[in-house]
Each structure stands twice: as structure tokens, then as C-alpha cells.
Symmetry: C2
Subunit: 207 residues, 2 copies
Amino acid sequence: MGDYKNEKTSDLGASDTGPVVLEEDGNSSIQTAETLLRLIPVGLCVAALVLMIKDSEDNEYGSLSYSNITAFRFLVQVNGILAGYSLLSAAFTAVPRPMTMPRAWTFFLLDQVSTYLILAAGAVATEVAFLAYKGDVAVTWSEACGTYGHFCRQATTSIIITFLVVICYILLSLISSYRLFSKFDAPAGYRNKGIEIVDFEMNRVDS
Amino acid sequence: MGDYKNEKTSDLGASDTGPVVLEEDGNSSIQTAETLLRLIPVGLCVAALVLMIKDSEDNEYGSLSYSNITAFRFLVQVNGILAGYSLLSAAFTAVPRPMTMPRAWTFFLLDQVSTYLILAAGAVATEVAFLAYKGDVAVTWSEACGTYGHFCRQATTSIIITFLVVICYILLSLISSYRLFSKFDAPAGYRNKGIEIVDFEMNRVDS
């Protein structure tokens, strides 16, 4: 519908040439913030991932590694996926380019899925760490952190870092939904139509 | 917003008097969908909550109740909160009224928080149910569902219902972010300015 206006006066907004692109107004500052917000999780995810992967403890009672606990393996996998996605998307947003609707949709959907994934991974790992610290007498699950104190502390650090990633991604999905939905006014059509009619009448009067 | 076109020359839009209101165009169908999407979780949350609260099992090995497990208590609390919020917000959206910016922001933020809460509660309860079914030998957590089969099945049903609520809330937070951010074009201003300038020139020509 951007092309629509162009046919009339060819000047009602530079943002209407080619495919629908976003206004450039407050875009550069948002773009910088977004690129930063996508770079930060790269480091955080790698840190959380490495901390968790290197998390194992051997002692006289036995040995415990992150790979023995499903929730911690899930945390490692999700952090790995998000490190990759964050890096790719940061590289993509760093270069100024028109944000078309398919791109806005892609970012929006991937950001949403990422946010839900990392939140679920963090929550699940927190619960297991909580059980490891406190145990659950009724289910006969004994606490494990008395025996594996170092293991538990390192896992907790990794989980805390994961929640920093969660915060970044909550902000990122806010930005990408802003970017997507702030374009949705145009298809609703009242503004363009308004211009159209007025424009038509002007041409008539002018000729 | 529809009014906007009609009043083109007389005054520049009801949307400029008083608080910014949303277009009514595709709004009624979205509003119906939204009210429905807010009513469904009321029933689902209450079902998940009741199922979980009534979930306890006594047998020769001992007794187990939802209240013994932190994750399940959290699930009950979050389902209770969301049942209340869903009912209130459904009642609010059922009545057609102008959606002002503060209202759009309130819905957006509460929907986001609700979605994250119910997702976290569902994920955490799933992990505990998983541990109850499978156990974790390395941490010496034995499986509990061999002994408390009925308890586990009822908890699983409650968790599945909770994930239906998650789906509803993912859609709801999509709708409320669409509603909030689709207004963000207007303050950016280029479209309104376009209309304004043309309108001014028309008045000049007409007189």
C-alpha cells in the first residue's frame, strides 16, 4: 500500500518507495540499542554454557556432572542455540537496511520463541537447583548440595547468567514487536485513504 | 479513526481531541477474539487449579500431596492469579470502549507478565513431573510415580491444561502488543503531517 501513495503525488513520504519500509525517525537509536541487546546475550550465553558444561564434581560420595541432570542439559542446549541466534541477528541488525515486513515478522517470531525457550530453560534449571539445595522429603528426594557444594554453586551462577539473557530477550521481543506492529497501521488504511481523497481533489482543483 | 476521513476538512480527527484512541476498523473482530481468548483461560486455570489442589495419594508407602512439592504449589498460585486476571480483563474487554494509551500499556504489560509467569510455572511443574516419572540416579532422586501413579497422572493432566493456558496467553500478548504498538505510528507523525498540510492547502483553495 506504500506504492499506492506514490502513484498519486510521488512525494508523500520517502519511506514509501519499494517494499513497505519502516520510518527512519527514531530508528537509528533503536537499531543501536537492538544491536547491543543482541550482542550482550552472545557473551552471556557462552558464559552460562561454558560454566554449565564444565560443571562436575567428584568426591568420596560419588560424582555429579551437568550431563546427569536433564534440566541442566536443556539449559546448555538452549544457551547454545541462543548464542548462535544472537550472533547472527546482531550481525544482521548491525548493517542498516530497510526492514521489510517478512524480515520484521521473522525477527518477531524468532525473538518470541527465543524468549520463551530461554525463560523455560532458566525456570526449569532453577527448580532443579532449588531441589538440589533443599530436597523434598515427601518425595524422598534428598538434597544434594551438602555433598556437591561446588557443583551447585557453579550451576547457580550459570542459571543467574541465563536470567540476564532472559531480561535481554524480553527487551528484544519488545523491540521486535514494536517494529512489526507499528507498521500495521497502514494496512488498516484510513490514513492512506485520507491522503488519497484529498490528493485527488487537489489535482482536480489545480487542473 | 473511521471518523477521520469524514471530517477531513472540518476538523482533523476525533483522535486528536483528548487521549489517543485506537482505530475501530478491524477492531470489533479482534475484540471478540480477545474476549473469548480471555474467557477460555478462566475455565482452564480453574480446572488446572482444582485438579492440582485435589491431587493427593495415600498408600502403604506413605502419602503425597501437591502441597509437598514447591513447583506444584507455584502452579496452583499462578493458575489462581491468572484465573482472576483473565476474568477481570475479559469483563473489561467485553464492553466496547476507547482503548487509550494507558489502557493499552496496562493490558500489554499485564499480559506479558502473565504469559511469562504461566510459562515458567508450567515448565517448572513439567520438570518435577518428569523427575517424578524418571527419577535421577546420579543425584539419588528415585522415581515416585511407580508408587504414586494416580498422583502423577492427575498432576500431568493439570500441567497439560496449564500449557493450553500458555497458548492462550501467547496469543493474547500478541494481540495486546499489536494494539499497543500499532498506535506508535501516529506520534512518529509523518502520515498525520501529510494530511495536515494537504488539508491546509485545500482550505486555502476552497476559500
